[in-house]
């Protein structure tokens, strides 16, 4: 026991002050690419038109490099509703509708000491019945349609539906978007989104930034 305490003291404070402070890191290709090119750019998901990039479609593959480069900015987060009543406390339920696994792990990373989601009044819950927000990851798969509808129906209002990652938002390169069966309150772009981007999206959805 003593060893653990000593270790923690030795390590010091590692937690970010984001969102009041600056994010300490951001994975370059989790940011929306930017370029100043008119004409054809090779994009396997048709996310680039002239110099505009649809961040909800972008799968962070880097095929557009070197014409386009990572913007190194937190991408534009589309939010159609803001729930200020959840600004003090918010319980999140992760729902995997058909991921490669990466988006799930990036959401779960919010629990690690660098992010310490609890300091913002955020926590994960094991059941949608106790959840204020559902974080849906992955493409829409046939077998998960009913469980997804059931999970959202079982949540009490107010409830927020997050589409986390390009697969959930647009279907990415793997399949269909979850928007075919549920309305998306918040879209968190990236393949997968960086944990700081997910945190920014959560804070935006409850009116804290």
């Amino acid at each position: 026991m003593k060893a653990w305490f000593l270790r923690s003291f030795k390590k010091g404070i590692v937690t970010s002050s984001f969102p009041s402070g600056k994010n300490e890191s951001l994975s370059p290709w989790a940011t929306t690419p930017a370029g100043d090119i008119s004409g054809e750019v090779n994009c396997p998901v048709d996310a680039i038109h002239n110099d505009k990039v649809d961040s909800g479609k972008c799968i962070s593959c880097g095929i557009c490099f070197p014409q386009f480069k990572p913007s190194l900015q937190i991408p534009q987060i589309t939010t159609t509703r803001v729930e200020k009543s959840l600004s003090k406390s918010m319980k999140l339920y992760i729902f995997d509708s058909g991921t490669c696994g990466a988006c799930n792990l990036e959401i779960m990373a919010l629990n690690s000491p660098q992010y310490d989601m609890n300091r913002l009044g955020l926590s994960f819950t094991n059941t949608p019945r106790q959840a204020d927000a559902i974080m849906v990851t992955g493409v829409l798969t046939d077998g998960m349609i009913d469980p997804l509808k059931a999970a959202i129906d079982s949540m009490a209002s107010p409830k927020i539906v997050f589409a986390v990652g390009a697969c959930a938002i647009s279907g990415g390169i793997m399949g269909k978007s979850i928007s075919e069966i549920v309305g998306l309150d918040v879209q968190v772009p990236g393949c997968p989104p960086d944990p700081f981007v997910i945190m920014a999206a959560i804070e935006k959805a409850r009116g804290r930034i």
């Binding site: 290709w29 991921t99 000491p113 469980p147």
Partner: protein, 395 residues
């Protein structure tokens, strides 16, 4: 011991098989591999406990049906098909197929894309440099360290060792950040390309950071091994001794088997293999921890001879036209052996099959849980390092 067949398929009335750690297809006289089916019959004393497909304890969606008396597990079935993405590669061009393959299992994308590119190159006789082989190996070993740290965090958290768990997650996040800064992506998406790499990589700043992560993990590991609570929760739980198992699960009961031992990417890197003997969750944890240290030894050797990798022109993708001939191979992912067969014709994929380690580990886990305490389910499952995404069907 006969090396088990990982992929068996029928074509033109003949049955072919690809065995574990093999690059050669062979004629096969046995049956096609069958889905595991166990008939679970509830009775007065036994009830069926449904768990999943979406539940807080899982990292990915999976459904378990557990026959139990309330305390003991009598039998178990599982279903991974609910989140089956129905991935199809047939008719896809090489680039699109590569991007999809990277996302079959996103957290092991370096292993998947390295094998895919290796098969592409062999299908068209493209030679790659030692540097590119080294970079692929380095990415796969960093991926292994990251994955094993995640499993260690889950296991220690499950055993209420929350300070240990948070310290391990802290190290994993540090590793992911270094990966993101160095490779442009926290999970190595977009680096591997047939014949080369997709962007310049500069490794000159990662040695000290990686060394510090591994050294810190070693301290945590030694302290955890002194924890009676952690040992009690993982010792003798979910004992697996089935040779169909893969990776750390196979090595956890003493099998000195690892695809890296004979793979040409690992020539001259002297891969050190660790084994356990009890086959329980604790043995698998120890094997994974030792693999973190041996992966770091490999990474060090590679960093000693390379620090810069320059982008190789993607034009080599155009050289891959293919003849329709089937090419097969394997790679040792953090979860175990991945086997793949594919063929290319006119620059497009026209045949693709793979066998993932999670597929086999889940199968042997379901058999091994019979007789275990219900509370041990979590430790058995987490010690597998399961990735449900890679158990899906490829059409």
């Amino acid at each position: 011991m006969i090396t088990p067949a990982r992929i068996v398929f029928e074509e033109d009335g003949k049955i072919f098989a690809l065995r574990r750690y093999s690059e050669d297809l062979e004629d096969f006289s046995g049956d096609l591999l069958k889905k595991r089916v166990v008939d679970l019959k509830p009775s007065e004393k036994l009830s069926l406990f449904p768990y999943g497909p979406s539940a807080g304890g899982f990292t990915e969606s999976i459904y378990f049906s557990i026959l139990t008396s309330g305390e003991k597990i009598e039998a178990m079935n599982y279903d991974t098909s609910l989140k089956d993405r129905k991935i199809s590669l047939s008719g896809k061009d090489i680039l699109k197929a590569l991007l999809i393959t990277e996302r079959i299992n996103g957290i092991h994308s370096a292993s998947y894309s390295s094998l895919f590119c290796d098969l592409m190159e062999r299908s068209s006789g493209i030679e790659i440099s030692q540097e590119i082989m080294d970079l692929r190996t380095l990415m796969m070993e960093m991926e292994r360290i990251s994955h094993h740290l995640f499993v260690a965090g889950r296991l220690s958290g499950g055993a209420s060792q929350n300070i240990a768990s948070m310290n391990i997650y802290l190290l994993r996040e540090e590793l992911l950040r270094i990966t993101g800064q160095t490779f442009g992506h926290r999970y190595f998406f977009g680096i591997n390309k047939p014949g080369g790499i997709g962007r310049d990589i500069d490794l000159s700043n990662i040695y000290e950071k990686l060394e510090s992560i591994v050294t810190e993990y070693e301290e945590i590991y030694r302290t955890l091994m002194d924890s009676r609570i952690f040992i009690d929760r993982t010792d003798s739980t979910a004992i697996i001794r089935d040779e169909m198992a893969a990776g750390p699960v196979l090595r956890g009961f003493g099998k000195n088997m690892d695809g890296r031992l004979q793979h040409r990417y690992y020539n001259n890197l002297n891969v050190r293999i660790s084994t356990g003997d009890s086959g329980d969750s604790l043995a698998r944890y120890v094997v994974r921890s030792e693999e973190i240290f041996s992966s770091w030894e490999i990474v060090k050797k590679i960093l000693d001879r390379n620090t810069r990798f320059n982008m190789v022109e993607e034009a080599k993708i155009d050289k891959i036209q293919g003849t329709g001939e089937k090419i097969s191979g394997y790679m040792e992912t953090p979860s175990g052996d991945l086997s793949m067969i594919l063929s290319v014709r006119s620059g497009k994929i026209n045949f693709f099959k793979y066998s993932s380690p999670s597929l086999w580990n889940l199968r042997v886990f379901a058999d091994a849980m019979k007789g275990n305490n219900f509370a041990d389910f979590y430790f058995g499952l987490e010690s597998l390092g399961l990735c449900v995404s890679e158990t899906g069907d490829i059409r």
